[in-house]
């Protein structure tokens, strides 16, 4: 195991307002240099909030953050001013979900990449444009020289996402945060972007946190998977462990609910119920109301975290129960 690139310790994020939202509850996570982790979960499970907390992009006035986030040993919750700006985009950068919205419509893509490079590397405009061109080549955009001069609306969705990736990687971050970068794309482009990200990850040797709600995507890209539910990580392990031997009932439900091997006309497997409201801090297992295995003990208190193997954990009382039958 390599050095820890990222360590999140007991992170809690609350949004205050008319109603308090407990978005992240006591989340711990670690990532080694060059590791790829998929953060898997449904909408509203806190995946994006985790990423935004990592970049300190959450509105400070309405957000309460507790816990510890360390990137390469630096406590990023204490960064401010210059050091925060150096950290954002320099050490850690982010690929957004909707590339059409994440690129500024009034500047050419070349100018936008160059702007970031100039800010972090302090190089001249022409050198920065060279870097931008090099990055566009690396993300395999056809005729990169011409694309430099294009505005975002002149590019297709897949190309925009490639530009977004070029922009994020232009300053060689050690950690890349990808917030559902393939969700807004159609299926054939999705796989291209995934392959590209995997290739660039190997080339640059950076750590990647890849947020997705698509188990297929997670399997495709990552070495490790962390499953999130209601602002907590309910299960974590290598991709192989999660797929072959899911322990948490929620993970099992997710894996069962896929469309392959389903006969026509048959009812699709689904997890009954809906995710809980996050207005109160959970005092017991958040998944219990939807769980087939839940008993009174599940509703009595927070589930223990079981660690069946090193760097593998399951937050469930029933994790050790043999429930393979399908």
């Amino acid at each position: 195991m390599t050095d820890k690139l990222l360590e999140i310790d007991h992170l809690t994020v609350r949004f205050k307002g008319a109603r308090t939202i407990h978005a992240i509850n006591d989340l711990s996570l670690s990532l080694g240099e060059g590791e790829t982790l998929a953060l898997l979960g449904e909408s509203g499970s806190g995946k994006s909030v985790t990423l935004k907390a990592l970049l300190r992009l959450l509105p400070p006035k309405r957000t309460e953050i507790e816990g510890d986030i360390r990137v390469g040993g630096t406590d990023i919750l204490r960064l401010s001013g210059r050091s925060l700006q150096r950290y954002r985009g320099g050490d850690v950068s982010m690929v957004f979900q909707e590339p059409a919205l994440a690129l500024d419509p009034v500047y050419t893509v070349g100018a936008q990449i160059a702007e970031t490079v100039m800010r972090h590397k302090g190089v001249s405009r022409s050198e920065a444009m060279e870097v931008a061109l090099d990055m566009l080549k690396r993300v395999k955009i056809p005729s990169p020289e011409r694309r430099l001069q294009n505005y975002p609306h002149e590019l297709s969705g897949g190309m925009r996402q490639r530009v977004m990736i070029a922009l994020a990687l232009a300053c060689r971050p050690r950690l890349l945060l990808a917030d559902e970068p393939t969700t807004a794309l159609d299926a054939t482009v999705q796989i291209q972007i995934l392959l590209l990200l995997r290739e660039l990850q190997k080339e640059f040797g950076m750590g990647v946190i890849f947020v997705t709600h698509d188990i297929g995507v997670a399997v495709e890209i990552s070495e490790r998977i962390a499953v999130m539910y209601a602002g907590q990580i309910v299960e974590e392990g290598t991709t192989r462990e999660i797929i072959k031997d899911p322990r948490h009932p929620y993970t099992r439900g997710l894996l069962a609910a896929n469309l392959h091997d389903v006969a026509r006309g048959e009812r699709l497997a689904a997890i009954p119920g809906a995710p809980p409201a996050l207005e109160t801090r959970p005092a017991s297992c958040s998944f219990a109301p939807r769980c087939a295995l839940a008993g009174p003990d599940c509703r009595a208190g927070l589930p223990p975290v079981v660690t069946p193997a090193p760097r593998r954990r399951v937050a469930c009382l029933r994790a050790d129960e043999a429930v393979p039958a399908e």
């Binding site: 992009l57 500024d104 020289e145 291209q192």
Partner: protein
């Protein structure tokens, strides 16, 4: 899936047209806008070069040549109630009228944009403070506000400029604030922050860049209103002072001659009408030429 093969690697065949070249091209294809542009340009050029056009002295009157009708030899557009050449006075009057009509919008554009962008980007208490003060000004109809401020400050060109600027800051601020708060919540602002841009860079580069054109278009639509208001102030005697040629003022002094020669006394009004109509149509044309985003 051929990922590695670039489809075409040839450099761009021709230099790409910039955004403004595209806007100009679309504007050029609109005949109404081009006509209005020609009229406005002619008026502005005539106003700028008025002293060198070989016109009669706009200040020199003649007791025997008063209120000559349109078409009098030597005075193509006739003379006013003091025998001064109307053509010279109309063209010279354009200098003041256009100046007082356009400058307040320019000032208000800068002031209002700054206030609105700051209010929209920072939000919170500062937004409330700025926007509620703006709302107070909105409570008054713009004509009434201009008259009240001008009346309090007294007649004169500078005071007219000040009062008209004050009148136009609130609407521009409001538009700037609305556009900014819309842009602020977009992903690319977060994306810029995620790449390490400071708040100032985000505002300067990404907010201003996206916000300026809608504010600009809105401001151009205010120029015609401003011109009418400026002429109105002069008409009421709280704008430009009498010896100066100014369309609103001329309309006022020729008012008494309306029974003698209605066509003659309508001339300054025609100028005001034509200019503000052309400015309005032109700003409409610019708006639709700039709105094309895809």
């Amino acid at each position: 899936m051929t990922l590695t093969e670039p489809l075409t690697s040839a450099p761009a065949p021709e230099a790409r047209k910039g955004y403004w070249a595209g806007v100009a091209g679309r504007l050029a294809r609109d005949p109404v806008s081009m006509l209005c542009l020609a009229v406005v340009a002619a008026l502005i050029l005539a106003a700028i070069f008025a002293p060198w056009l070989g016109l009669a002295d706009p200040y020199k009157g003649s007791m025997i040549a008063r209120l000559k009708p349109i078409g009098t030899p030597g005075h193509i557009l006739g003379t006013d109630e003091q025998g001064r050449d109307m053509l010279a006075r109309l063209i010279h009057g354009g200098r003041l009228t256009l100046f007082i009509g356009l400058m307040p919008v320019v000032f208000a554009f800068f002031i209002g944009s700054i206030l609105g962008v700051v209010a929209g980007y920072v939000g919170g208490r500062l937004n409330t403070l700025i926007m509620r003060v703006v709302d107070v000004f909105f409570a008054f109809p713009s004509v009434l506000l201009a008259i009240a401020i001008s009346g309090a400050l007294g007649a004169g060109i500078v005071n007219s400029l000040v009062s008209l600027t004050i009148v136009f800051v609130p609407p521009i601020t409001r538009v700037a604030e609305a556009v900014t708060s819309g842009v602020r919540s977009l992903d690319y602002i977060d994306a810029a922050r995620a790449t390490g841009a400071s708040a100032l860079t985000v505002i300067r580069v990404h907010v201003i860049g996206n916000v300026l054109s809608p504010i600009f278009v809105y401001a151009t639509s205010l120029t015609s209103v401003c011109m009418i208001l400026a002429a109105g102030l002069s008409f009421l005697g709280i704008g430009v002072r009498p010896p100066e040629p100014e369309w609103g003022l001329m309309l006022n002094t020729l008012r008494s001659a309306i029974y003698v020669d209605p066509w003659l006394s309508a001339l300054p009004g025609v100028m005001i009408f034509v200019t503000s109509l052309c400015l309005n149509l032109l700003s409409d044309g610019v708006r639709s030429a700039m709105n094309v985003r895809d």
